[in-house]
Amino acid sequence: MAEHSHAHPDNPLKYYIGVFTLLLVMTGLTVFVAKYDLEHIWPPLNIIVAMTIAVIKATAVVMIFMHVRWSSRLTQLIVVSGIFWLIIMLAFTVSDYYTRGGWPTTLGQ
């Protein structure tokens, strides 16, 4: 009845060390980039860079430390649906705030 999980690697320690290194490097990188005012180039650039790095870090933790890479389809589906629902909540609410201001005035007359 359960989906068979993909086989765990015999020795996951090398993956763990790899992810650990990646996390440290990425933390350094995000601190380094944050020192520079990229908002002069494009206002949201700072936050985009920071969030991209954070997403990469989170993905690495989820996939390797939390074994999702080797987990059942069901587990993977739960992870994806969590992200999906979070995006629904953020996207719809933000869409409200970004499109306020009513109709173009020409239509109002």
Binding site: L13, Y16, T27, A34, L74, G82, W85, M89, T93, V94
Partner: protein, 232 residues
């Protein structure tokens, strides 16, 4: 599946097999983490809305935070995630000594995180930056002055900071409690090669709390890192 299982150590009566019990535990934890995503999600939503409402205030407020302490805590949590993963690995190998060592290490790192957080909080409260009406007394003169017209926006940033990191810290405290329980159980030899899902399930929780911090650190601490008050 159809045959009746004879009594197995650690198998609850209503499950048919160890595999079923383990799967139920894992799925249950993942669904719990799903609720946690939405729980923190509400605050991330508030962050998003208020950041777009008060971009300047968020730069200013973020600048008040101590990146060194926040960064140290980030590293502490990353290391603790590694030690937790190792603990899970050795529980599956049935190596009780190493399991205990890594659980203890994880606990120490978790407590270190909370200690640093305590230092940060007390400094902020001492500076009059805790955004409750009774304690809110931001300096309007001197080195760390916050201009009066920015104070409301900074107030908004700071309650988001305290609420998000506070909720995260509560999760860390719960995590520490779980680790202590695991250590006691491991010491009593409850975990074997065949029965270790409590360790694995707790590991998932610990990593989740780490992931929340991975997002909190840049959103709260680094947003105003390039910003110099009065500059530009």
């Amino acid at each position: 599946m159809a045959e009746h299982a004879t009594h197995v150590e650690g198998l609850a009566h209503h499950f048919v097999s160890m595999e079923q019990q383990k799967e139920a535990g894992m799925v249950g934890m993942w669904i719990f983490l799903l609720t946690e995503i939405m729980f923190f999600g509400g605050l991330f939503l508030a962050y998003t809305i208020y950041r777009t409402t008060y971009p300047e205030g968020f730069l200013f407020g973020s600048h008040l935070l101590n990146v060194k302490l926040g960064g140290t805590n980030t590293v502490v949590l990353i290391v603790s995630s590694l030690t937790m993963a190792m603990a899970v690995y050795y529980s599956q190998k049935g190596d009780r000594k190493k399991l205990l060592a890594f659980l203890a290490l994880t606990l120490i790192l978790g407590l270190a995180f909370l200690g640093i957080k305590y230092v940060e909080y007390s400094t902020k409260i001492h500076d009059g930056l805790f955004p409750a009406a009774a304690t809110w007394n931001p300096p309007s003169e001197g080195e760390h002055a916050i201009p009066v017209e920015k104070q409301q926006a900074v107030h908004v940033f700071l309650w988001i900071y305290f609420l998000m990191t506070g909720l995260h810290a509560v999760h860390m405290i719960v995590g520490a409690g779980i680790l202590i329980t695991l250590i006691i159980m491991a010491q009593r030899g409850k975990f074997t090669k065949n029965y270790n899902s409590p360790v694995e399930i707790s590991g998932l929780y610990w990593h989740f709390v780490d992931i929340v911090w991975i997002f909190l650190f840049p959103l709260l601490y680094l947003t105003g890192y390039h910003f110099t008050p009065g500059g530009h």
